[in-house]
Symmetry: C2
Subunit: 242 residues, 2 copies
Amino acid sequence: MSKVPVMEIFGPTIQGEGMVVGQKTMFVRTAGCDYSCSWCDSSFTWDGSGKHLIVQMTAEEIWSELKRLGGNGFSFVTISGGNPALLRNLESLIAVLKENDIKIGVETQGSKWQEWLHEIDELTISPKPPSSGMITDFSVLSDIIRKLKNRNSEQHISLKIVVFNQADYEYAKQVHLRYPTIPFYLQVGNDEITSTDNPQLISHLLEKYGVLIDRVIADEQLRDVKVLPQLHALVWGNKRGV
Amino acid sequence: MSKVPVMEIFGPTIQGEGMVVGQKTMFVRTAGCDYSCSWCDSSFTWDGSGKHLIVQMTAEEIWSELKRLGGNGFSFVTISGGNPALLRNLESLIAVLKENDIKIGVETQGSKWQEWLHEIDELTISPKPPSSGMITDFSVLSDIIRKLKNRNSEQHISLKIVVFNQADYEYAKQVHLRYPTIPFYLQVGNDEITSTDNPQLISHLLEKYGVLIDRVIADEQLRDVKVLPQLHALVWGNKRGV
Ligand code: SF4
Ligand code: SF4
């Protein structure tokens, strides 16, 4: 059977961001990313530092591990990365999850297409703003969005942009105005991903959240948008695997 | 023209809780409630203390005030209370908002039916748990949910329970298991609604949020649920009108 490189499997926990914020979920984190964002909080998935953690697993093995950890207490699995859309053979995991009546969430930056993206119940596309150091290929992104919209399935899709600075904010606005019918999320960037001083981190992130809200409130071009913090950073700081 | 008792109109701001958490929105707060929850954070809408703030307004007058405050910078209006479902003639406001392509959110405790509930795009039904001192009439609640489901319109509905203690948690679980197909939200109760010490309030509420998450994580009977804090209390403390 075909295998996928798995970095970590954990949960149940709560989805801390985006369109299903607050959702009780298990996480499967795959290895590998085609980007290298300057502020990536999962760089161990692609920079070599987590190489020893990678396990090649079949869909059945991943499902067994999910059941071992989560028992009967979950109905939702989030596949994150890295960029899970690098892996064509995630389709077998998706099939197993569907057989077991599990809803599936995925986050990807919108740089790669896979047919299985049609099967994801809650699909977050999160193009990376200038502060990441990455350049968005809008022809690829538009093609992905067009494919998803054409199929017009039951699935929910959304766009999410993390904002660190003014240039990111302008980029976010461009993305929203380019795809105005796609539900749109702005998220506060965490620029202190190595901080272990949680009270300080929390007050810093909430202050930045307030600033982003104020900017959106004053901006007549951003109307039908949602502005969210990362809840997991507020609850657990920069701890990994929660 | 028929008028409705309006307590306050404000925005644009961000919806701090529930199914449209993070949404940029205007707020119209109506006066009056058929409940008197022990921990009500809007008791000025019904306990007489805000009587001098009530203005009887037509739908057109409310719309003018929304435009004056929000200009062209909003596409969503939240009608809150008190209990807006006490007011049959909110239907004229709803008609004006729809004519202007505005999406509408409402929160009500599920104690009163109005035909216009069918017209609400994002409808949160928030039955009150034991700590409120109120008793849920489940026959009324079930009737409301049945009516909404029968119409099977484009609208989104959800159930939201605020949890202060163990009895509230058990109540929430009962409600979810009774209506398992309705999207379900658990929210941390704010038991310090008079606190003005924001850093202390934030750390208290985040700690309680973490405890609620842990309880849900460990509970195999709560699977397809979302657990959220009140974002506005984290950003603005107990300040009113934001
Ligand atoms: S796309 Fe995501 S996982 Fe990849 S480098 Fe950027 S932030 Fe990290
Ligand atoms: S139902 Fe809502 S507005 Fe009415 S008393 Fe309870 S908390 Fe307050």
